[in-house]
Symmetry: C2
Subunit: 128 residues, 2 copies
DNA sequence: TTCATACTTCGATATTCGTGGAAATATCGA
DNA sequence: TCGATATTTCCACGAATATCGAAGTATGAA
């Protein structure tokens, strides 16, 4: 993931309305929600919501499909994963103790996601 | 973490200059970097950098300490961890396979951070 | 066709944000 | 004290962004 892509994602999520939409879609899971229902649940105007959904879609964080008159939006978990990985990259070059606080992320993620066989740590060398 | 706090963090990181600064500080580790060195490395004006550092500090993502004439900035890994946890919250209510893509985050984090026996840290405490 | 529903796009406005010049503050050495 | 270095604050301006009404497009039903 390029830094520019991350910026698009982060600034997309860094706004009240859009973060609320995204989190709602994350909770909704793969079935997603139609735009109208999102607007009603969050009590926002449909055109404002549409603009925000566009920003999220542009960032690749949500996908959409038409179903009859409705357009169903879903969170893109893979994109989310890519973003999180980007944010965690280079966090402790050669010094694991440095990012020990991030261990909490690991445990909570482990509690949430299926267990994964951990590969041998490939630690990058620091080029300061 | 409140949603409002997450928005402050995300929008702070969702800008080219600030993301570059933050990532540089993350790589720099706990020793951090003086503002002047950051400005020279990223080739930005010192006042622009100062404004951006203010935004990051306001979001709690960086801390600063004075050292002689310099002011040293460091990334706050705990804040980063809190943000990541917030983003991963509620990602798979009752359906673990939903966020399987996020498993990649877990494995890469495990490769980076200390072993996941988070209950009681086996490593010795690091003193700066 | 005609109408109603579900969303989106357009256009204007108000606000926020990023940038850079100039001045101010803080620290240190002579 | 004076001057140099390091960084911040102040201020103004152009660009980007959020918001909202109004109009437009797509779908399905009568």
């Amino acid at each position: 993931m390029k830094s520019a892509d991350a910026i698009v994602c982060l600034s997309a999520l860094g706004q009240e309305g859009r973060l609320a939409v995204f989190r709602l879609l994350v909770k909704a899971g793969p079935d997603g929600l139609p735009a109208g229902k999102i607007a009603r649940r969050l009590d926002v105007l449909p055109n404002s919501l549409s603009a925000n959904l566009n920003v999220l879609a542009n960032a690749g964080l949500v996908a959409s499909r038409r179903e009859g008159r409705s357009i169903i939006y879903t969170a893109d978990f893979a994109a989310m994963s890519t973003l999180l990985n980007f944010l965690m990259a280079d966090c402790c070059n050669g010094a694991p103790e440095v990012c020990a606080p991030l261990a909490g992320v690991v445990s909570s993620a482990a509690a949430c996601c299926p267990p994964v066989k951990v590969k041998a740590p490939t630690r990058k060398k620091v080029s300061a």
